[in-house]
Symmetry: C2
Subunit: 187 residues, 2 copies
């Protein structure tokens, strides 16, 4: 059933070089030698900000309702529905970052928080990973965020998940995956 899951020998990084960078990103080339002798050039992307990681929260208003936000996405130049998320600040745990981001983005803190999984985006190119957390026992508390405009707050019933998956503005792989990871906690 799980053939091929023996130990693998990582390719050797013969050389790496930063070939381009901006305020937020850094592009590196890697000269790689695989264990079979093949040599290839790969590219990978890194964030330029200090890498404390990121969090995404599935906030449960009650056992049958989670909260989505809708915000502008520059990559696709449209408004996208998804779970609240943000970067972990220096010195914060993922749980602390999750609580702060919830206060900033949906105006609620949470008394219970648990980790569901860490997800990568496109591990072929990016190192960054995101902690997916389930947030329960919400209570009102607002912190000022740095958003250019307030996010739309969109409560959604766990009974309407298929309808959500069909929406053309709910496309982010990490939000779809978070929904899957949280499903066992839905009533």
């Amino acid at each position: 059933m799980k053939k091929g899951l023996d130990e693998k020998t990582l390719p050797l990084i013969l050389q790496s070089e930063v070939v381009a960078q901006s305020r937020l990103f850094r592009i590196e080339t890697l000269q790689l030698k695989f264990s079979n002798g093949e040599e290839r050039e790969y590219e990978r992307l890194r964030g330029n900000r200090k890498g404390n990681g990121a969090v995404m929260m599935v906030p449960m208003l009650d056992d049958e309702t989670f909260i989505l936000v809708r915000e502008y996405a520059a990559g696709t130049h449209d408004y996208q529905l998804g779970f609240p998320k943000g970067l972990i600040d220096e010195g914060e745990t993922p749980e602390e970052a999750a609580d702060r981001e919830l206060k900033e983005e949906i105006g609620m803190g949470c008394k219970e928080i648990s980790s569901l999984k860490s997800l990568t985006m496109a591990p072929g190119y990016f190192r960054s990973s995101m902690h997916i957390l389930l947030a329960k026992s919400l209570y009102p508390e607002k912190l000022e965020g740095d958003e250019p405009e307030p996010l739309d707050i969109v409560p959604w019933s766990v009974h309407n998940i298929d309808e959500l998956l069909e929406r053309e503005d709910f496309t982010e792989a990490r939000s779809v995956a978070a929904l899957f990871l949280a499903r066992k906690y839905f009533k």
Copy 2:
């Protein structure tokens, strides 16, 4: 239940500029003016190759078994489990690309293919989207791919999904999401 899903006014792109690029990627800055008057600078990433999009396939060996591949991921510098995927070539439909990639990556073609959803990676930064497809009625047929080493082919039972989600080498958000989207077709 779905408050706040009124029409949104997109921010105005006052200016955009390519600030860095490499063989594969291009980083742009955007000067944005939001409908409330707020102005901000955003960055976004584009692929430098012609953008025909990408495909990821959930290949069903039978109703109770899907196929994963394990390959080197440069971003995280480790071996990752995930569904087979690849870029759509010029002139190909997503279905044709899916069939070709399956022949290259797992040595099988498919007689039935259906679209599950298109996913974005991080729409805040990237435009690129990936078609997620379910591939059935597989048959042996091998095409040469451009991989530096053969991929490990890993059949996995639909009854062991929780075990898969717990693995530290199964982290890619798009693969986790694909599993969720395909689950209704599992026996």
